[in-house]
Amino acid sequence: MDRTPASDAPDAALLVAYANGDSAAGRDLLSRLAPRLFGYAARVLGDHAEAEDVVQETMLRLWRIAPEWRQGEAQVSTWVYRVAVNLCTDRLRRRRTRGQVDIDAVAEPASDMASAVEAMTEKDRADALQAALDTLPERQRQAVVLRHIEGLANAEIAEIMDIGIEAVESLTARGKRALKAVLSGRKEELGYENG
């Protein structure tokens, strides 16, 4: 079957081709979306096994919806992020009710955050970020990861999280304040109001 090379074809075109029986198009789309979704879910959940479950369920839902997909109504990437965000939210809420989030689990921060970060290796920085992210309320965590790690625009995050752009800005601002408080040893500043 003639098909635009995977590097050029839009996500929606690949999804439509998949819906028409083109398995290679599905694999192209998978190779594009799955690593991003996994990176996001692993950051938000802090657990690779759970991240795999989320990505697998998200992709299964995409394959099921493929025959009814209408081009132009939504971006495929936005759609899958939305599914993944909701699945992560469910897991974080279940985890919260089990009391698994523990701010004291974060490595003891240095009193001088900037100096400490400067002295860290790249991997240590990523680990420190993960530990700090794990302490954030779920919505702040998701907004911060989508904005500052996945690099999405506020408008797309608003669509993914089904909230307004101002709410996204508020979540990311509060999330960043909370991260700085955790990383600089000012945990008492955290309010931990959710949302």
Binding site: Y18, A19, G21, G39, A126
Partner: protein
């Protein structure tokens, strides 16, 4: 305020490190996802299939519908086809014009005469 800006810069450095070191899915996991995609692959659209079942009458009504005949006419043609003797007997009951005049008593049937 300077301290806050410094912390902002440090946080940005952490974000950059996080973005540059994303968690990577295992190859086995990606293979599992690919198998899922293949298993869920929709059937490619093909030519319209003939109905696998259905009665002979159903098939004939479809044929007649395609030719523009009404259901009653289709039934008549069908009876004529399977029971021609019955049709012949009916036609022998009288002249055709007499049969028509019975249904159209006020009509001037002379226009049909040669």
């Amino acid at each position: 305020m300077d301290s806050d800006k410094t912390d902002d810069a440090a946080l940005e450095a952490l974000f950059s490190a996080g973005a540059a070191n994303p968690a990577k899915p295992a190859d086995e996991f990606l293979a599992r996802l690919a198998a899922d995609a293949d298993a869920a692959l929709p059937e490619p659209p093909g030519p319209a299939r003939k109905p696998s079942g259905g009665s002979l009458l159903g098939g004939l009504s479809g044929l007649f519908a395609a030719s523009g005949l009404s259901g009653a006419a289709a039934l008549g043609v069908w009876i004529g086809f399977v029971m021609p003797d019955l049709v012949t007997d009916v036609s022998l009951l009288g002249e055709e014009t007499a049969g028509i005049s019975a249904f159209l008593p006020d009509a001037d049937l002379s226009v049909f005469s040669e």
